[in-house]
């Protein structure tokens, strides 16, 4: 099982190396093979998640390690899907996607990765629905963040079509992420109501999820009603992802509450 995750790491590393070599030797294929390596890494991650699921006998989404692996998987999947629909104009983002994936997988290796039985509160089909929805949302918002970082630091000499496709990616990934975040909060509320008899308890995780949701709702309104696009919208996505990270990691380690098992 671990070999499939190591293979992912190697493939994502290769996706960066291929681009670097392509640049050094001025080869036209640099992005094409980078995307292929990224796809191979994603397939290996898929195998890892599938094997872990089979071994544990439940969806591998019960702790920080498992959810982070799923988040990286969703992030790379989001990039590959956008690339599929927006075409070759996003090829050049592949090595950056791989860089984020490699760094995140490296971070995940420091977390406790043992498979342990579920505590009573997590023994529900809502675990799969709620956590996978939230993590996929975070994956899409991470892609929007990555696009925003590249957009903000992009030189003015960059071709217009590249800027346009990146701007489109940032906004659309934000919309998908926001939709999934909404769905994640709702499924969490329904689960909480079936487990504890209260759909909202102002638990720190719930409160910070709502802060993140409201922030992205305001960002979307600012774009639609005040015309905040390009660098302004990219700036909003940068700060938005800081909130996502705090909701995902910060709350687990700094505050105790109903989601405390998420830190293990």
């Amino acid at each position: 099982m671990e070999i499939s995750l190591k293979a992912s790491f190697v493939f994502y590393g290769a996706a960066m190396a291929v681009t670097l070599l392509g640049f050094l030797f001025n080869k036209a294929w640099k992005f094409k093979y980078s995307v292929l390596a990224l796809l191979a890494g994603w397939l290996s991650s898929t195998a890892h998640i599938g094997l872990r699921w089979a071994m544990a006998g439940r969806a591998p989404l019960s702790n920080q390690y498992e959810s982070l692996i799923f988040l990286i998987w969703a992030f790379v999947a989001a990039y590959l899907l956008f690339k599929r629909f927006l075409g070759r104009s996003l090829d050049w983002l592949a090595p950056w996607t791989a860089l984020v994936a490699v760094l995140s997988l490296g971070g995940a290796s420091f977390l406790e990765s043992d498979i342990s039985p579920l505590v009573p509160a997590l023994q529900s089909n809502w675990l799969l629905i709620h956590v996978s929805t939230v993590m996929t949302g975070y994956g899409a918002l991470l892609l929007s963040f990555l696009g925003a970082v590249v957009f903000v630091f992009m030189g003015k000499a960059e071709p217009e079509d590249r800027r346009k496709s990146l701007e489109s990616l940032i906004y659309r990934a934000c919309l998908i992420g926001f939709w999934l975040l909404s769905m994640g909060i709702i499924t969490g509320a329904v689960w909480a109501n079936s487990a504890w008899g209260s759909y909202w308890s102002w638990d720190p995780k719930e409160t910070w999820s709502l802060i993140t949701w409201l922030y992205y709702a305001v960002a979307i309104h600012l774009r639609r009603t005040k015309g905040w696009k390009d660098r302004k919208f990219a700036g909003l996505m940068l700060w938005g992802f800081v909130l996502v990270m705090f909701t995902y990691f910060g709350v687990n380690y700094l505050m105790s509450g109903l989601h405390s098992y998420g830190r293990s």
Binding site: S182, M183, A195, G197, A217
Partner: protein
């Protein structure tokens, strides 16, 4: 009227209210909620603590200023919806999303006004017709709940392990070497191959104490686990005590530098469940096994398995909730997802 609607439906007001709500959520998310007044003085100093209490920052989400803010948000969305009703045809997704948020605000108000919630504490065989509300007040139910049985199920049972340790013979080296670990069971004998010792495990005390008539267990909580045993080797027949929390206290007599240490490994809980019955006029109307994630419902009341007492395994803590806002909130959830899907689908295309 039009001026009022224009005032309340402005985007500026929306952004201002959103900023204030974000600030309120941040305050509630950062400052620990519901602590004792003294805790805030320790956290923020004497003056800061007083301000926290005066501004109700210790209970942001139930404060009157927060509720006023929520009302402002609801009015803003209501005014937007009234003003932009033509959006229903032009951008139905946006219209439905805003309507959904309004529905959730109404649901929140219904929840605040009409929901009741609390804890029903029962022991096996006990029946009660009222529970303790969240503020501790008694809340009567039109029927009684009888706890027929409570049990905890484990992924793996608790284990008792005895380790045989031998002092290092080299006088220059401190410490002990582990010779062997044997899993033992109360009431059975255990054999150590490495020391040829035979131990007879007599009894397990979950929470050992000395009573008036000798050793007793205070309760079932595994707070001071101990084993009584008899070492058949050497000083045969001598009863000894091993304590998981105090490995150096009352241990088995030293046998040629070998020491026996008891390790208690608690079982991992899989589920805890209560078999409850609803009684009306002494007649049983319904029976159900409830567990975490599997509640029971009767006449608008819902019963959720919430806790147990490790010291009293006949005790079960059950959350009771009667919340007429759930249907409104769920309708709001459904409308929000339909609205967002509709609106974003058009954008994505």
């Amino acid at each position: 009227m039009t001026r009022l609607i224009n005032l309340f439906s402005s985007v500026k007001l929306f952004l201002t209210l959103s900023a204030l709500m974000l600030a309120a959520f941040l305050l509630g998310g950062v400052i620990p909620q519901g602590e004792a007044p003294q805790a805030y003085q320790e956290m923020f100093g004497r003056v800061g603590g007083v301000w926290v209490l005066n501004l109700r920052l210790n209970g942001v989400f139930s404060s009157s200023w927060f509720l006023a803010l929520m009302c402002g948000g609801a009015l803003n969305i209501l005014a937007c919806t009234v003003k932009q009703w033509k959006l229903l045809k032009l951008r139905p997704g946006v219209f439905i999303s805003h309507l959904a948020v309004m529905l959730m605000f109404i649901g929140g108000a219904v929840h605040g006004l009409f929901s009741v919630r609390g804890t029903l504490a029962l022991e096996a065989g006990q029946a009660k017709g009222e529970f303790a509300g969240d503020a501790g007040e008694p809340v009567a139910m039109p029927f009684e709940i009888l706890l027929k049985d409570f049990q905890i199920r484990y992924w793996d049972a608790e284990k008792h392990v005895i380790h045989a340790l031998k002092k290092r013979e080299d006088p220059g080296q401190d410490g002990e070497d582990l010779l062997e670990s044997v899993e033992v069971e109360p009431g059975k004998d255990a054999h150590f191959n490495s020391t040829s010792a035979e131990l007879s495990i007599i009894k397990f005390y979950p929470n050992f104490s000395i009573g008036s008539s000798g050793p007793v267990t205070v309760n079932e909580a595994r707070e001071n686990p101990a084993l009584t045993l008899r070492l058949k080797d050497g000083k045969a027949g001598k009863t000894s005590y091993l304590f998981a929390n105090h490995p150096d206290f009352h241990g088995v007599p030293d046998m040629g530098g070998i020491r026996y240490v008891y390790e208690y490994r608690p079982g991992r809980i899989k589920q805890f469940e209560s078999r409850i019955a609803v009684l009306e006029g002494g007649v049983e109307k319904m029976e159900k096994l409830i567990s975490v994630n599997s509640p029971a419902g009767y006449k608008g009341y819902r019963f959720y398995q919430s806790g147990y007492d490790a010291k009293n395994l006949n005790f079960s803590s059950i959350q009771v909730s009667k919340d007429p806002s759930v249907a409104l909130i769920y309708a709001g959830f459904a409308a929000l997802m339909i609205g967002l899907s509709w609106a974003f689908w058009k954008e994505m295309k």
